[in-house]
Symmetry: C2
Subunit: 424 residues, 2 copies
């Protein structure tokens, strides 16, 4: 099934709002084995007619967002009715719902809202419990050469439930009963680059019929997606699990912070953090996870050397002898954090986030990451992530949390330093 | 000048990456008085030819992202050269730069990277200091009916500097010397909602000819944009400054963390942080700013009550009497942080980020934010931001940093609690 997306909204083209619909549709459709062939953004207003007419012959279904509201430039409903030669009729049920919604919120009913109760003949109404404008499904009309049209509201909190609950099932039904949606799995992997992953897997998985692979690399992490018939996907998943048993962070799209918090909770253990160059981002990433308070009692953000000594007991002569960005300091931070927090594990990071502060010996992007654990002792390595300040912080956070994940899973910690593969 | 944007990238249509280019272009072009008429996303591969051919007659300039890399589905350069009948020639300068970049990073040079040094005849090379593939500008060719084509790299960290430094100036030049780009100003405002801002300003500014207003609200912050002829924009800016002298965070798009770090540096003062519910995000936001080490010596992330007492000296009986989320605890955290860190200011936050942990008296979204300063003493208020966990954290961080901004600017701190207008 060929699918296109059209987003209407002047604010999207002015850059006032980032278009997240396109990514949302892509993700959801992928799960039923469909792909968006083209996505187009146009301003509110007359342009919708041209874009629809161009797209009709190219696709079997179109997802159109926006343009269903009460203002004068919301004209999608009217344009579609006209293009398909359908009359618009007032739907008393929708009208009553809209009026009741306004009454409940104590708002004046604006007559322009009544337009939202107009329905083209032959359209299926898609209820919108989160807003006033319902969505509309106009089935394909072979005589006119029009595809299935799904007219959907613009605001994400209205669009997403409608899409998940009404549009996705309708698409599955259109795919036909024989066409069972494909199976799919996502593996979130840390510690193997996208190209190494591909060159390791493709010789083995390339031969499996009915299987498709997708990769997405993101600041040190790679998502590997398997999609296809259930048998081949299961067979491939087994191979991936065997080859990368230690590097698989999650068989889902769970962020690494969530995985680590879950492992700590299951083990009944805790972690504390001692951060210099990440400046609190390790702690913030852990505390993004609901329930993290059970496993994360405290963190130290020790930007100054004074704070490193005073809060973590790092001996001041280490700064003179080795520098604040050094293995001895990272180790002392981790040990001090472990001892003073009483936690079971302590993560410590010290590095040079840039853009200034680098030297020939320790250029911007150099970082020492240490993990101290009550039972297993201290592990510390130097790494190198020369990138902009915010990406550097993110990469270091992922690396640090992955060390803890490995330790909690009982895997050996990597001996080699990590370096960015691609130059920045 | 009619402008279209084409983004190539299968990952954008699969929903693995949100397309932020479109919003970025919209924002930047707005500043020189241009608007994007249409934006299209297509997969990597052959589709680029069709989309370019369709768009040529509709526009004067096209911004095309992606498809310049080394892999086999990166074909934008080759397709454009063929459509315009230009030969591709190896540019020895680019080749040398690419090879040097690989050498410096100790990476093997992959022969497929050499393709990135191919340049169509007549193209202007746009240097890419952040990656291997340079951008290309192919001037409009009236004989072929082709618009100005700007072929740009996909990764945002490569694209944005190239666009700002090379493409935007080229577009200004193409607009012609008579067509002076409009003046524009951005005011970043904290503490006034979008609708209050509009209803306060529009009666006054609505009458100014040659002026256009734009608003963008984002987790407590509002950007107000003025655009138009220089005179009207200046006149309007004076009015905005007079009406919102205290609420203007920046007359730019600078994040509030950058503003606060700048004010601290100018005053030669420092801040320390004591965070419970924000879990390190205040510290991380400050340390996102280069040079923050001069003004931010340390932060405490005190998720457990034990940590609040041990690290900040919060008397344990306060937890029993008032609860960890209370004004006395927030005040004690701020005072303890100030005393123990030796900083000039201390920010403390304690609240309920959710989704669990709320009570009738203190529902999810409740937060106490305190600011203690050596000279001015302690300020503390209760606020209410019922939203998802991550938005809650962001809103609290903005509020806390804005308190410090006001104090550093010598403005009174707001007496009233802040509440979200719309329930989420």
């Amino acid at each position: 099934m060929r699918i296109e997306v059209v987003n209407t909204g002047t604010e999207l083209l002015l850059g006032k709002v980032v278009n997240t619909h396109a990514a949302y549709f892509g993700n959801e459709l992928f799960k039923i084995g469909l792909r968006v062939q083209r996505q187009t953004t146009i301003p509110d207003g007359a342009e919708i007619r041209t874009v629809l007419a161009e797209a009709f012959p190219r696709c079997d279904a179109m997802l159109v967002t926006g343009g269903l509201g009460p203002t004068s430039d919301d004209i999608t409903r009217e344009v579609v009715a006209e293009m398909l030669g359908r009359e618009l009729r007032l739907d008393e049920g929708i009208l009553a719902t809209i009026r009741e919604m306004f009454r409940l919120r104590g708002l004046r009913q604006n007559p322009s809202n009544d337009r939202q109760a107009m329905v083209p003949e032959g359209a299926v109404v898609l209820d919108n419990p989160h807003g006033t404008a319902p969505g509309l499904h106009l089935p394909a009309d072979p005589a006119l050469g029009s595809p299935h049209l799904f007219l959907l509201p613009g605001p994400p909190r209205e669009l997403k439930p409608m899409f998940a609950e009404l549009v996705l099932p309708a698409l599955v039904q259109l795919l036909g009963e024989d066409a069972t949606p494909p199976a799919w799995r996502n593996f979130r992997i840390y510690g193997v680059g996208e190209s190494s992953l591909a060159s390791s897997l493709e010789p083995v998985l390339g031969g499996i019929e009915g299987l498709e692979l997708g990769y997405c690399a993101r600041l040190g992490e790679v998502d590997l997606r398997l999609i296809g018939e259930p048998g081949p996907v299961d067979a491939a998943a087994k191979i991936v699990r065997r080859k990368f048993s230690e590097e698989i962070v999650a068989e889902s799209e769970a962020p690494i912070g969530e995985v680590v918090v879950g492992l700590l909770a299951a083990a009944g253990e805790t972690v504390a953090t001692a951060e210099s160059c990440t400046g609190g981002l390790v702690a913030s990433t852990l505390t993004d996870v609901p329930g993290s308070s059970a496993v994360f009692p405290r963190g130290y953000v020790v930007y100054s050397n004074g704070a490193k000594s005073e809060l973590l007991g790092v001996p001041p002569d280490l700064f003179e002898e080795f520098g604040a960005v050094s293995e001895p300091v990272a180790r002392a931070m981790a040990m001090g954090c472990l001892a003073r927090s009483g936690a079971d594990h302590a993560i410590a990071v010290t590095g040079i986030a840039g853009p200034d502060g680098g030297t020939d010996e320790k250029p911007v992007g150099t970082v020492y990451v240490a993990l101290a654990s009550r039972r297993e002792g201290v592990h510390c390595r130097r790494h190198f992530f020369p990138s902009d300040r915010l990406s550097f912080k993110q990469r270091v956070v992922r690396l640090a949390l992955d060390l803890l994940r490995r330790r909690l899973r009982g895997f050996p910690l990597p001996e080699k330093e990590r370096k960015m593969r691609k130059p920045v």
